[in-house]
Structure formats: structure tokens, C-alpha cells
Amino acid sequence: MRILGIESSCDETAAAVVEDGAAVVSSVVASQLSTHGPYGGVVPELASREHLRAIVPVVRAALERAGTDFTGLAAVAATAGPGLVGSLLVGLTYAKSLAFARGLPLIAVNHIEGHIHAVLLEAKREGLPVRFPALALVVSGGHTHLFEVSERFDYRLLGKTRDDAAGEAFDKVAKLLGFSYPGGPVIDLLAPHGNPRAVRFTPAKMKGNTLDFSFSGLKTAVLRWVEARGMREEIDARRRLLKTTPHPGTEQWLEATPPATLDLLASFQRTVVDELLRRATAAAEQIEANAMIVSGGVACNTGLRAAAREARLPCPVYFPSPGLSTDNAAMIAAAAFPKYERGEFSGLDARAQANLTLALQ
């Protein structure tokens, strides 16, 4: 039983075919394709008009790689939110047209639910299915959420960021220090070369819900640290490096980054990782979770993965493989599978919703 998934909520245009909610038969993400890809160039990041250019070749590529055509599909699933409405509309409308033309059921999926199912899919495939209730930490450039996930895939929001997402903090710290975008990978690459206890950042204290996150204060603390130290020269040197070498290697970055800055990066990363795990652990204990799921782009962070392994967590922790951590459509098709089994189909009037929430209100 194969479902075609389509994702276009933010930067990436993606399509995938998933079988029985467990096997990724094909998964295509437009912004990751080489310049020799079928549409003659890297699809620039961003927004609806770029999605519009990419959607047809991306879906076609996903079907071709799966060795199937529309007749081999049981349903079409697409992200309905949250995200940019203009971008969401491209994928959702395309999915509606397919469903209508081919007489296939349409399944609207929440993007965040997709991230959770990226992990469930792989766990199922490995024969180590996640036990419920599970605590899900969805952490990316746009999201930092804690959910309780029940066996029936009902979701309860336990906490979320009140300002910046964790991935956004990585991006902004990297940018202000002259590193490349996105910031997560480069900071993660260099953090092991610094002392994670060298710079002390005060953890955010949350009034009200203590399972909420805040990363804005940490970002500002890094900015103050940089301003106080007159780092203009080394920052400019890194920006020059980026102009001549779009993708510097570890050695090149290390040459352009003094020990004190490496300490700063290591300390910043440790602070973010500690915050994420501290609140995720507290949430897992609160709901007596039988599993912890970490998903979203920041789940690629090796510091977070190592800390989660070493921490005495109250339950087993699951991370997705890197390809399924960042935005993709396999997770959308996987999330659609239980809805298909329950007959939860969407009408052709399904709306794209920028602020679509996952939990029951």
C-alpha cells in the first residue's frame, strides 16, 4: 500500500513514496538536487513561485524512482500547515488536483506531525517500534516543541519556544560570527574543538510553563560577548573566506577561528543542548513516557545526539537518520498512513493554514 507524500511548507519542495508507513521507496527534496538535476539548476531557496517551478519535476522524480505511476498509489498526502501559506498552497493544491483527477483519497498532514512520524517510520522499519506514550521534541529552524504522543496519535502540547527556535539561534549566532548559513552544521563541526565549559551562559528561567523554551536571551548574550571583545577582524576574515570558498572544510574554518571563539561555539552549543534535554527529560518524566523522540533539523546535531546517549534519560531515545531529520516528504506520507487506515480523508476544500496547530485545543 503506497502513499505519495508532498511537502512544501517552507524552503524545500519535496515528494516521496512510502509503503505501509515503514519503507521509503523514494524521497526527493528539490533543494538538495545537484545542478545537473532534471530542472537545470539548483532550486533557490524560498517561497511559492520557486515551489511552483519545482513541484511537477519533483513529484515525477519521486514516482520514477519508486518505479510506479499514479495507478500504483493508494492515496495522496500533503502538508497543510504550519508554514508559509503561499508555499503550502502549491503542494496542497497540486495534491488536490492529483486526488481529483485520479480518484485518490486526499490526506492533509500537519508538518510537525510529519517530523514525529519520520522517527516512527524508521523505528518500525528497524523492528524496534516506539512504545507509547512517547515524548516528542521537534526542534528545527522554525520549531521547538514538546508533545505527548499517544498510541492513537493524539498529541498534547507540553511546551514550546516563546521566542526563537533552537535552530534559529544556531543560524543567528553563526551569522553574527561570520560563519555560513545554516549555522547548525558549522557550529556542530567546530564545537568539539572548543571547551564547552569556558563561557558560562545563564539558562533561561521560564515564568509560567517551565516546559517552555527561550533562546532569545542566549543569542543576545553571545552578541554582547562578541561586542565586548572587538572581534571585527576575525569575523571579517571568515566572511572573506566564505566569499572565496562557499563551503570551507574543517581545517579552513579552524585556521580562521581563534581558540576563544571555538570555546564560545562549544559553550553555546552545550547550553542549547542542555536546555533541550533538560526540558525534554522533565516532560518525559511528567508524562511517564516510554520513549523519547527527537526530530527536526536540529536532531542532526551530533552534540545533541551524544548528550542524549550519555544522559540518564528515563526512557529510550530515538533520532531519525539525518536525511529524515530535515524537511522531507517521506515523513508526510508516513504520517498519512495511520490516517489512511482510519479513513481520515480530507475534502478538496482542505485549507492551507499558516498557524495550523497539532494538539487538540
Binding site: 517552507c10 524560498l46 517561497a47 511559492s48 513561485r49 520557486e50 504550519p82 508554514g83 508559509l84 501559506v85 503561499g86 528545527s140 529552524g141 522554525g142 514550546k160 519556544t161 516563546r162 521566542d163 526563537d164 527556535a165 535552530g167 534559529e168 543560524d171 543567528k172 553574527l176 548559513y181 509560567g208 517552555d212 532569545s216 536571551g217 543569542k219 543576545t220 552578541l223 554582547r224 499558516a354 498557524n355
Partner: protein, 144 residues
């Protein structure tokens, strides 16, 4: 040129609520200030003051570019930090959003001055010592 001082995040949110009362239902408001100056914090207050959402619901739109609040949408919270080229503003459909009957709060809009609507409001946020902020409101063009 009204100028305000706030000493805490809570005061910045409260100021946003107050400023919201004087905004027309359709307006473009640029929030101008460095990283950590409190742009998103002030936006929380304005969104609340317009009755579109609670402050805790309002988070940074840097990654997602646009957040919408209210049903029907009364506030667009836009963040152009990630964008580099004016052409990306076209791809985002920003001109169409400015046409809508809503308040558009724009962070980092001053990076694309030619593309910002006129008339508009500009709110500048400056960090003084510690948590204190100086917040200045101007109408653009002057005298509007």
C-alpha cells in the same frame, strides 16, 4: 516623535499593547533594531493589543518568514532577516500582503527601504544598559 523607555520584557510587551490601540486596522509597521533589541517582544504586545493572539503564541518568524495571527488574519508578522535579494521579496508575495486589510509588522524591513510601503510607521528599538530599551515611534513620511 513619541519616545518610550522600558525596563523589562513585560514592560515592552505592555508598551506594544498600548501602541496597538492607536494603529489603524490596515498599517505597515517596521520594527527596527539590532539582534536582541526586543523586536519580537514588542510584536507580542502589538499582536495582543490588536486582539489577534496571546503573547506566548507569538514567536520569531525568522525561519518561516511570515506568521499570521487572528482568523480572519488581522496581523502578519514578517521577518526579512534571512533574505538577501529584493527579488526574494517578490517570491514571497510581500506587495500583495501589504495590500490586505491587516497590520503588517516587519522585522529587518529597513534592509529593503525601496520595497517598504509608504505611508508606514517605524519603531526603533535601542538597547541601553541591561534590559532597558529606548523605543521611538515615527510616522513615515514625516507628518502623516
Amino acid at each position: 516623535m513619541p519616545q518610550f523607555l522600558t525596563g523589562t520584557e513585560e514592560e515592552t510587551v505592555a508598551l506594544g499593547e498600548r501602541l496597538a490601540r492607536d494603529l489603524p486596522s490596515r498599517a505597515a509597521v517596521l520594527l527596527i533594531g539590532n539582534l536582541g533589541a526586543g523586536k519580537t517582544t514588542l510584536a507580542k504586545g502589538i499582536v495582543k493589543g490588536l486582539g489577534a493572539a496571546e503573547p506566548d503564541e507569538v514567536s520569531s518568524p525568522t525561519f518561516t518568514l511570515i506568521h499570521e495571527y487572528g482568523d480572519p488574519v488581522r496581523v502578519y508578522h514578517i521577518d526579512l532577516y534571512r533574505l538577501e535579494h529584493p527579488a526574494e521579496l517578490d517570491a514571497l508575495g510581500l506587495d500583495e500582503i501589504f495590500e490586505r486589510q491587516a497590520v503588517c509588522l516587519v522585522e529587518w524591513g529597513e534592509r529593503f527601504p525601496d520595497r517598504m510601503p509608504s505611508p508606514r510607521f517605524e519603531i526603533r528599538l535601542e538597547t541601553l544598559d541591561g534590559d532597558r530599551r529606548r523605543i521611538t515611534l515615527t510616522a513615515f513620511p514625516a507628518g502623516e
